[in-house]
Amino acid sequence: MAEMTFFHYFPRDSLIHRMDARLKLLCMILLSVAATLAGTVTEFAFLTFVLGGAICLARLPVVALLKDMRLFALLILLLVAANAFFVPGRPLPYLSIPGVSQEGLVMGLRFAWRLLLILMVCMVMTGATSLLTFKNVVEWYLRPVPLVPAARVATMMNLTFVLFPVIFDTYAEMRAAQKARCIETRKNIIKRVMFTVAPLLSQTLRKADEIAYAMEARCYTEERTRAVFRTKAQDWVLTAVCLVICLAVALR
């Protein structure tokens, strides 16, 4: 987990990092909507340029992020292949592959590009916003919503992210220990899964319990110091730009 850069926060001093996180989240939502509504190559290319620019502006490690993108390569390939094979239409003009339609391939590539754009949005948001800030923003947005315990929801979200690497590390250690005792020789897949799931669940619950104790020991309460957000003129300018992009794609 420690070696993965995807969805990690990178502390930097950049325009995107300094941006008011409330507006940053709003911008990312607007760009995600634009990515979802985009249909033409020009729109996709323009959004790729904008998000690529945002990644560079945030000074995120582009090469490392691209390497981690390989994790999604299989999913993207599957998406393209599924559309190409299952969407009916005309055969490909130059290269005839049985079962592959021109319309299906175009649709698949469109889906794949859209997914890439949304991943880029996530990269900018998570790379340039610490989880605590993100949690504070969620809490800020939820606070006016009646019957929603904003502080509790935000803390739960934070703890989920804290527990993720712990669970992954525990899983990796458990798998290694089981491999050392030749778990592969077991043919029954259900038993093999049970050997992992049961202890992992029990250890995770125990760790969750420890975290709860540690939080209580440090006086955890829902009436905590509230984050102070400051909005600068440039934040409004960036938000306006994102709004224009979103409207331009939506109203074309």
Binding site: M1, A2, H8, Y9, P11, S130, L131, L132, N158, L159, F161, V162, P165, V166, K207, E210, I211, Y213, A214, M215, E216, A217, R218, C219, Y220, T221, E223, R224, T225, R226, A227, V228
Partner: protein, 249 residues
Amino acid sequence: MPILETRNLTHIFPNGAAAIQDINFSVAAGEFVVLAGANGSGKTVLIRHLNGLLKPTKGHVFIEGAPIGKDIVQARKKIGLIFQDANSQIVGQTVAEDVAFGPENLNLSPAEVKRIVQEALENVGLSRYADQDPHLLSGGQQRKLAIAGILAMQPKIILFDEPFTGLDYPGVLQVLGEIMRLHKTGHTIILVTHELEKVLAHADRLVIIHEGRLVEDGLPAEVFPRAEQYGVRIPLGKIEGVESMTWLK
């Protein structure tokens, strides 16, 4: 008046097993107490009562003469607890965020939280790691982070639960040095360990818990020769008195 006192402290688990029974002991301000005992003797249960994390089946805990349950937040502010597994104490995504967790719970102003966090990190020498992922710190640094998280609450008493477990030699030196610095700055220290050779030279008292009962409480030099009968190992080789039982040079 002792800064911390327990009277007939007893904790019975729901299955009927007694974790601790009739524990009576008190700690004076500024004292350094080592609490030793074999695995399962009840040390951790005892210190979790001192911080109000567990409620006793019988008996009481008093801090500066007041029952701990009277104002649990104040009690936890006065008594910091550093857990055995420093990793499980981490709740922040960065070192600074983790240290800020306690002061933010006390609803201090953002500016005050920032100042306290900076001070706490400076105190334990972790300032340059403020923006780093705490899970990437070494074992010794994670313990120091746990200490910083507690220092940010400005406690009078600090409880250490097995602070040397899983640490290499430099890690033990880092943590032990930090504990000694805290003691010198006036903090009352209660340290749970069964590794007496690492720290006993610095202690004012040695308390031994055995099968949930307090069986020994006295000067380290007087108590430690009897420690082995309670499952606490006495270092092998030449022992040149309690004074030699430290890893600090």
